[in-house]
Every structure is written in C-alpha cells, then in structure tokens.
C-alpha cells in the first residue's frame, strides 16, 4: 500500500532522425498508486501516448530507451525479457487504445474475442468461457448481448466496440489499466456512457487506471490526480482539485486559460499559441521555455526537477526551485 503500483522514474526515449537521435521523452517521472485514477494530460506531441507504450513495452522498433526505469509491483519492466512482459500484458497491465474497432480482431466475432480472453486468463473451457462472455457483454451494458456476440467488429458501432473492449478488460482483470483517449471519435452522449462504465468497472474491480487524454473536462470528472506533459517532459503533477484551483506551472495556467467551457464563455482574445515547434525537442532545458512568459536564463540550461509545492503537488519549474549552481 505504501509503494505505488506503478513508478516511472526518469524515463527518456529517443528516435533516430536525419540529423541524429532526437530525444522525445525527457526524464519522465510518474507515480500511480493502487486503486487510484490518474490522468496523463497533454496536447499532440506531448509524449503521453509514448509514455504509455513504454510502460507496456509496445514501442515501435526504432525507439530507443536512453535511461530510466519503470517499476511495476517491484520489478523494472524495462529490464524484463519479452516473454515475461508478454505474460504480464492482459493479466497485470492492459491497455485500451484510441480506436476501439482497430483494437479488435476484425476476423473474429465479438463474443469469441471476449471468450478467448476468459479462456486465456481464467483457464475456462470453451463452452463456459462463451457463456461468461455473454454475461460480461450484458454487464457492460450491451443490450441483446447474444446477438451482439455473434457480430464482427465492423458491424458494431464505435460505442459498442468500446464496450466489448471493456468486457475483455473485465475478463482479464488487470491490476493496471491504461486507457489512451478511449472515447476519441465517439459521440458526446456515448462518451458519457463509456466513462460511466469505466468508472463502474474501476470501482468494482479495484483496478488502477491511468487515463491518457487531452480533455481537461474528462480529467476533472474521472481522475483523482493528474500529470501534465509538454513536449516529452512532465510539467506538473497534482490532485485534480489543486490543479484546477491553484495551477503553478505556466503551461498549466495557460492551458486552463485556453480551454473552452460549455457552461461559461471564456474570453477568446489574449491567448498565445502553445504548440511545440520542431526545435522544441532539441532544447537542453525546459521545453516550454520558448513559449513561457516567465522564462529565465536557467530555463534553457537544464530542465528543472520536480519541486513539492503542496502535499500532493509537484511542479517542474524554476519559479519554484533554485536552479542548480
């Protein structure tokens, strides 16, 4: 209970480029405690998906780990053999990707896929596995589950397909579930349903959830703690309450200022572009320096390490810490 379930420590990752290696993830550190829901937030290019792929060891072949460790349940996942990691996937750590229909086998019926997960992870026989698969599909809110179980993924709507994935999740009962933008492309009303479902499943199984998203509204509703990433670096980690009421990092402040709410209009003027440019990844120091209104000379030299500014709140910013001499 004291040890976090997942601990990413100083993870750095690079890719080969025409001009040499480019470090994409730079000393990413992140903690997820058992049974909690943590959000990993960033815009495109922030490295949030790469971080999750690194945890589950599904990185593209050209990716190279430059340093750092990923501790899960007392083991460094990065040092395990491929065979050991494969054994953990599904059973211990599972991941839901962005496009549900792309994650399902297009040649297998939905019910069979859930049944197969049950056979693999709970050692059930064929008939029993299929029976329980139908039950799981009903459990995740698929009406007419028997008919749906016979359908192929392309015959299912996006929302249905995502529910099937959640059913497979329930079959595997992983300890850590990573969900990467699970509702991209789904309608808003379906999105609400899926998030309700995920919340239920999480409470029911006690699974730990790492939720990757760019939507701060989703974070506000689903997560207890949240980590903000920008261009491959962690900027701030805080409880949801603290992040929204007392954001410390300049990027977080500006991000919150540019988010549009449906219940309250926001001033459209007076905001700056925040997206990283091509040269951002080559900066030696803090990668937000080019856009930061509070930038100091120290920001360009080395990236700031995490500084505690509250009980569960750390910031990577020289406004709150002394630059190393």
């Amino acid at each position: 209970m004291d040890q976090p379930l997942l601990q990413v420590k100083e993870l750095s990752l690079s890719f080969p480029r025409q001009t040499g290696r480019q470090r994409i993830l730079d000393r990413v550190s992140l903690e997820v405690r058992a049974h909690e829901v943590v959000g990993l937030v960033g815009e495109s290019g922030s490295g949030k998906t790469l971080t999750s792929l690194a945890i589950i060891r599904l990185l593209p072949r050209s990716a190279q780990i430059d340093g750092g460790t990923v501790w899960f349940d007392g083991q460094d996942l990065l040092s395990l053999s491929e065979g050991r990691v494969r054994g953990m996937r599904g059973a211990q750590i599972a991941m839901i990707f962005q496009s549900p229909r792309a994650s399902l086998n297009p040649l297998m019926r939905a019910g069979d896929q859930v049944a197969r997960a049950l056979k693999q992870h709970r050692g059930l026989g064929r008939k029993e596995a299929y029976r329980q698969a139908i039950e799981l599909l009903q459990h995740v809110g698929i009406s007419d589950a028997e008919a749906r179980a016979r359908a192929y993924p392309h015959q299912l709507s996006g929302g249905m397909a995502q529910r099937v994935l959640v059913a497979m999740m329930l079959a595997c009962r992983p300890r850590l579930l990573i969900a990467d933008e699970p509702t991209t492309g789904l309608d808003v009303t379906i999105q609400a349903q899926i998030f309700e479902l995920i919340k239920e499943v999480q409470t029911e199984t006690g699974a730990t959830l790492l939720l990757i998203t760019h939507d701060l509204g989703v974070v506000s509703e689903m997560c207890q703690r949240v980590a903000i990433m920008y261009a491959g670096q962690i900027m701030e980690v805080a409880s949801v309450q603290a992040l929204f009421s007392e954001p410390r990092h300049p990027y977080t402040e500006m991000l919150l200022g540019s988010v549009m709410r449906v219940d309250r209009p926001v001033d459209l003027e007076g905001t700056q572009p925040l997206t990283p440019s091509q040269t951002t990844y080559q900066t030696a120091g803090c990668r937000f320096a080019t856009r930061c209104p509070y930038v100091m000379p120290a920001c360009w030299i080395t990236p700031p390490s995490a500084t505690q500014v509250g009980p569960d709140h750390s910031v990577n910013c020289y406004r709150y810490s002394e630059p190393a001499a």
Partner: protein, 319 residues
Amino acid sequence: MSEPLLQVEGLHKHFREGPNTIHAVNGVSFELYPGESVGLVGESGCGKTTTARCILGLERPTRGRILFRGEDLGALTPAQLRARRRHFQMVFQDPHESLNPRFTVRRMLREPLMLHGLFRAEEQLTQTVDRVNLERSLLHRFQHQLSGGQKQRVGVARAIMTSPQLVVLDEPTSSLDMSLRIHVLALLRRLQHESNMTYLFISHDLSTVRHLCDRVLVMYLGQVVEMGRTEEVFDAPRHVYTQALLSAIPIPDPNVHRNRILLEGETPSLRELKPGCGLQDRCPFVAEECRLPVPDYDLGGGHLVACRLAKEAVTDERN
C-alpha cells in the same frame, strides 16, 4: 428586421444504399440573417453535414428548397449556380483532405478569383494571407509542408477570397489541439466582424459553438429538435435531447457537479424512421403522444422546441 440571406424550406435528403434508403435529413427549415453566426449542432448521423452540403449545392435535395438571397438554387442552371457560388463558400472539415496535394497555396487561393473573373493583382492574395495570420512565404508551399493549423487557415483564406456573404464552416476546429482552437475561433470572429459575413457553424463540439454563435440549431435524426439564442438554449435547454447532450459534456472544473441525463441505448438507424419524436426509444420521459408527429412549440424570442415538455413552458410564457 432585414431580409433573410438564406432560407431553408422543408429540406429532405434521402440516399439510396442498395435496397435501403438512408433518411439523412427529414424536414429541416430555418433562416439565416445577414451578419449573424448560427450553429448547427448534433452528433454523428444527425444530418448537419448533409444539410450543409445541400445548402452549398453539393447535393440535390430530395424535397424542399434552398433560397439564397431570395433565389431558389434548385431552379438555376448549372452555369447560373456556379456564378452564385462566389457568395457562399465552405471551410471543410479535414484540413488535410480538403487541400489539393498538387497545388501550391498560391494556386489554391488564386483559383476562386480566376473562376469568377475577380483576379486583378497579387495583393489580393497577400492581403488575405495576412488577414488569416499566415506568413506570406507559405504561398509557395504545398499542403504537405504545412502544419495542421496552417492548413486550416489556408482553408479559411480560400473560403473568403471572393468576399462571400455566407461561409459554412464544417467542424473547423475539431482536428486542432485545444490551445489552437481558441485562436482559430478568435480569428474567425474577427474576420466575420471585418467583413460582415454570415456564418453557419457546424459542430458536435458545443463548447466552441457557445463561443462563436448567436443562435444555435440542435439536430437529431435529421430533424431540428430545438433552436434559439445560444445562451437560452445552453443555459435552459428544453428538449430532452439538448439536455442530455449538454449534460454529457464534461466540464473542466472539479467543483461543478453534473446531473447527467443519460439516454439509453444508441442512436437508431436512419434506415427506418418511426413516426413521432426521434428520441422516443431512448427518452426517460417518453409518453404516448411522443409517438405522433411532434409540433414545434414557440417559447418566444425565436426559441422553438419540438418536445412535449415544452408545452408547459409555452403556456407559462403566455400567462
């Protein structure tokens, strides 16, 4: 009250898909007035994009009329319709797909002017490029050399080249990052005020609609279920679907607690439409009368709702 710029009257559009008929749009009527910004919102399959395509003449309506400046577009010859196109333009949804990969930016921007005999000088191009905050050097680039935000702005520039009176924007910010969206919206608003254009803004993202539109039309299963001024519809929605839609949107504020109206099930198929309200199989408040065609209840101030629950509000307002 001035003359309406655009009138959509009883628009129906059905597509044939083999033996099936897809009823994409089923009786949509509304008007757009010069200078206003109107949002057309709904989820996938509600018919908003098809409605827009009919307005722009990219599809022929199955039934109904589209009147632009009083002229029935369906009654024009192809050549006449083409000539009118300089007055209504579209910013397409996907900035990657809507720009021809073989054209330079300059060629894309020059073409609308050439087609309508409006090209006089290079300044016309550079001025528009400046207006949308693009660097002039990008004029010589190809689509694959631009970023997503730049491509989006090229799309906007192309649409305003002929100084149209109506611009239809199809999800212009959906493919952009959060921090970019607000910029594009600010840009769009500024352009509108500079040229007094009318916007028809199609989106499933209600947060952006809130920030740009004076009025909003909510669509479901090919019909308009509610329409009115944006603040009214968003702050006090009357149709159950609008309420469900708004309540489903997560708000980035942990202090706000949501009372979610969850609709059951999924959107029914457009292949077979039942008579009555499109929401009848999913609505938590459904009643017998919902199975019969639902009239529009007028709550005053342009707020129309096609839901029996609005009946009480009408009588309230009348008293």
